[in-house]
């Protein structure tokens, strides 16, 4: 019965979305009459109901997975009764249908949140926004019930499930899709706000202030999702790399780049009433990027190291939705942009100018990633098979990224409206000096290192120093929270960049085949293979190497245990790397296969300061969180006053 109830809830939610769209239409038409208030009340209630029903449907799907109900196709193909509970729950979204249901559940919940809490927008604009939100949801409900029904029964029921891809059986990855989806869907709200504002010709600071918390929230979750995804790929795939420029990774990076640009331009609109049309455009582009991301990951048309759950027929359904929503929004933009009046103006050398530069550079990076990710698709349509890899992306984005770092350092030091070049150069003296010293020091100490990573380290140091300058000679206690947020997020960029550069410049790798008792050295470590023994887990068995590691001559000895795991359902082998985090980096060990002569392959990496990459990601997200809290608090105070 649970599956039928879930499907019924899904149909009902779709129906309410339809009603929501019609009510929104009515409320916009009735704007200014007595009837409008009644319609608005009904609209808010319907939005809330739609959200609750979608959540209920998703909750029932989780219940099916927790109960291991093998009479449901989705459970039988993606779960197994012997799985730990956490992976049964995660199994609900570790597949195509479930993840699309999660998508729409988050979308509907966000819509309900807007209906409940949004008090800042003019009521007709809010109605148009909720209508746009319903319009998006309807497409996804249709997609679910007609093309991707998660509740289909299996007759006769399977004796047991096929299991979940072992690569997905990892706590980090279990919560990865929900995190990213909250980010994606947060951008759908920004998109709906922009559509609402375009329909009502109501583009101004009030609209920007209403949109900003949603953009910030989406951006925080995307940042966490990308950081966690990078770390997952790093330790789970056993390749020792933290970014592969894989289409699936790019699918999350592109919305993040757009959201980062939007976050900065919406601030200009909210505080200085500038960049009106540009902000609207970015809101549309940001959501287009999340739709494209969903399309890339869920359609299976792209070459990817972790492309799973593939189905080309559904790809065309998502592509059609993409065309309708994005094409429709762009057409609306084209029709209405002429009526968006010019906001206030500014000089090029000003905070606004720096933010425009930031936006342009982010857009350039976005363009490069977009071309590199989608070009193979077009080539394939032309009959040429090719794939584009890391060398292309590194070469094309690196110079733009360094320019962006420089703009990030300079921007916060500029005044709003107008500033002078001389004043800016004066303020930049300290950070540029620090970067120069860092470059000279690192270059001298590590002769033979490629100059590009060393340059990146120097930029990171410069940005790090510049980021904290806005706090100098300020009363720290009375510094607004959003300023702290900006400082910490920019510092996070510097920390992350330093980690990336240090890893690519200084990592060392050893690959060896050794007998038990033999030594291998990597970086400052001496690694001894003490034994290889069997190990057992809840749904896997493994071969486990016990490694004894000593740093230098007189260091403490510690042990590391990389494994080769064998999962029975589905039958798969995975490599479980052992990673030791030290204050100045990570030692990364992988157990390869055994040869007939009794030797075992060991792959070892010493990665100095690599942890800074994810620490920086965490700081960026923390900065976003502080900014969000600070903005919401301040606006509440303004409303009370």
């Amino acid at each position: 019965m649970i599956a039928e109830a879930g499907l019924a809830a899904l149909w009902l939610a779709g129906t309410f979305a339809l009603i929501q769209l019609m009510l929104a239409w009515g409320a916009v038409r009735a704007n200014g009459t007595a009837q409008a208030d009644e319609l608005m009340t009904a609209l808010r209630r319907v939005s809330l109901l739609q959200g609750l029903l979608a959540l209920l449907s998703f909750g029932l799907l989780i219940a099916l997975f927790v109960r291991s109900d093998m009479s449901v196709v989705l459970v039988a193909t993606n779960s197994h009764s012997a799985k730990p509970l956490i992976y049964k729950i995660a199994g609900a979204w570790g597949n195509h249908e479930g993840s699309m249901l999660l998508w729409v559940a988050v979308l509907a919940t966000a819509g309900a949140g807007v209906a409940l809490f949004e008090r800042r927008l003019a009521s007709a604009t809010l109605a148009a926004t909720l209508g746009a939100q319903a319009f998006i949801a309807i497409g996804f409900y249709a997609f679910l019930v007609f093309a991707s029904n998660p509740f289909i029964r299996l007759d006769p029921p399977a004796p047991d499930g096929q299991g979940l891809n072992p690569l997905l059986q990892d706590p980090g990855l279990a919560f990865h899709p929900p995190t990213l989806y909250i980010g994606y869907v947060g951008l759908s709200v920004a998109f709906s706000f922009a559509v609402g504002a375009l329909i009502m010709r109501d583009v101004g600071p009030a609209f920007a202030k209403a949109m900003r918390p949603w953009v910030l929230t989406a951006w925080i979750f995307l940042t966490i999702g990308i950081t966690a995804g990078s770390y997952w790929a790093y330790y789970e795939l056993g390749w020792g790399g933290w970014w592969f420029w894989d289409p699936v990774e790019n699918a999350s990076l592109m919305p993040w780049l757009a959201a980062t640009a939007l976050l900065h331009s919406v601030t200009v609109l909210a505080t200085r009433d500038g960049l009106r049309a540009w902000t609207l455009m970015l809101a549309l582009v940001a959501f287009a990027m999340s739709m494209i991301g969903t399309f890339l990951v869920r359609s299976g048309i792209l070459v990817s190291v972790h492309a799973f759950a593939v189905d080309p027929t559904r790809g065309s359904f998502i592509l059609a939705l993409l065309g309708i929503y994005i094409g429709g929004a762009l057409a609306l933009f084209g029709l209405r942009v002429g009526t968006v009046t010019q906001g206030s103006t500014f000089r090029l050398v000003s905070r606004e100018g720096a933010l425009v530069l930031n936006n342009l550079l982010l857009t350039v990076i976005l363009g490069i990633v977009f071309i590199g990710t989608l070009y193979p698709l077009f080539a394939q349509a032309m009959g040429v098979q090719l794939s584009i890899g890391a060398p292309f992306f590194n070469k094309a984005t690196a110079p733009v990224a360094l320019a962006l770092v420089a703009a990030t350092a300079a921007g916060p030091l500029l005044r709003w409206r107008r500033d002078s070049m001389n004043a800016l150069l004066g303020k930049l003296l300290v950070p540029v000096g620090a970067a120069g010293v860092a470059f000279a020091l690192v270059f001298a100490l590590s002769r033979g290192t490629h100059p590009v990573p060393v340059l990146a380290i120097a930029f990171a140091v410069g940005l790090g120093v510049a980021s904290v300058l806005p706090l100098v000679r300020r009363n720290l206690r009375r510094t607004p929270m959003h300023v702290w947020g900006m400082v910490i997020a920019h510092l996070g960029v510097a920390v992350s960049l330093a980690g990336m550069a240090a890893d690519s410049a200084f990592k060392t790798e050893r690959l060896a085949a050794v007998h038990v008792g033999d030594n291998v050295t990597v970086g400052p470590f001496r690694v001894t293979l003490a034994e290889v023994r069997p190990a057992i887990g809840p749904n896997w068995s493994a071969l486990e190497a016990r490694l004894q590691v000593r740093r230098g001559e007189d260091g403490q000895v510690f042990e590391m245990m990389p494994q080769q795991r064998f999962f029975s359902a589905p039958p798969t082998n995975t490599n479980e790397a052992a990673i030791r985090t030290l204050f100045d980096g990570q030692l990364y060990t992988v157990l390869g296969e055994g040869a007939e002569d009794g030797r075992w392959q060991l792959r070892l990496w010493w990665k100095p300061w690599v942890t800074l990459i994810w620490l920086g990601g965490g700081l960026i997200a923390l900065g976003g969180l502080l900014a969000l809290i600070g903005r919401v608090r301040r606006e509440r105070r303004e409303d009370d006053a």
Partner: protein, 144 residues
């Protein structure tokens, strides 16, 4: 600056940025696009040696040899039409074996052999890039 002029300047800057992006991307594409080859594709007309490419097919039966150093393997990739000898140094993927699909990433050598720096083995098809799976299916049917 008048508002109208400012709009113009910003518009031009945006255009320049987009142009720059395309330029950078296309110039990098020209020499960095990694192409996908099957052994039959390269028989008689080897691709440029300096290019990082993918070679996909089946590991030819009887060709897999592990080297005395314990970390190098030699094998041949075939699609039924032609065969390319491959050398690889590293930990081979879990499902890497003879008569099974493989994608080798690396460069061709002047003698027509291939040096791989990364191997992708045929896992469960659900986790296989479709493009690669497509090539492998072709090879599978040829080999059978």
């Amino acid at each position: 600056m008048k508002p109208k002029h400012q709009r113009l300047v910003l518009g031009l800057l945006a255009l320049a940025a987009i142009g720059g992006a395309s330029g950078l991307a296309l110039s990098a594409l020209g020499d960095q696009a990694a192409f996908f080859y099957a052994p039959g594709d390269v028989a008689g007309k080897p691709p440029p040696l300096d290019r990082h490419v993918r070679l996909g097919g089946m590991v030819a039966a009887g060709s897999l040899k592990r080297q005395p150093d314990g970390v190098s393997v030699n094998f041949a990739v075939t699609d039924g039409k032609a065969t390319v000898p491959v050398a690889f140094r590293g930990v081979t993927p879990d499902l890497f074996k003879e008569d099974s699909g493989v994608v080798a990433e690396g460069r061709f050598n002047p003698d027509g052999s291939f040096t791989a720096d990364n191997l992708l083995a045929k896992h469960d098809e659900r986790y296989m890039p479709p493009q690669v799976a497509g090539k492998m299916h072709k090879s599978d049917s040829v080999a059978q």
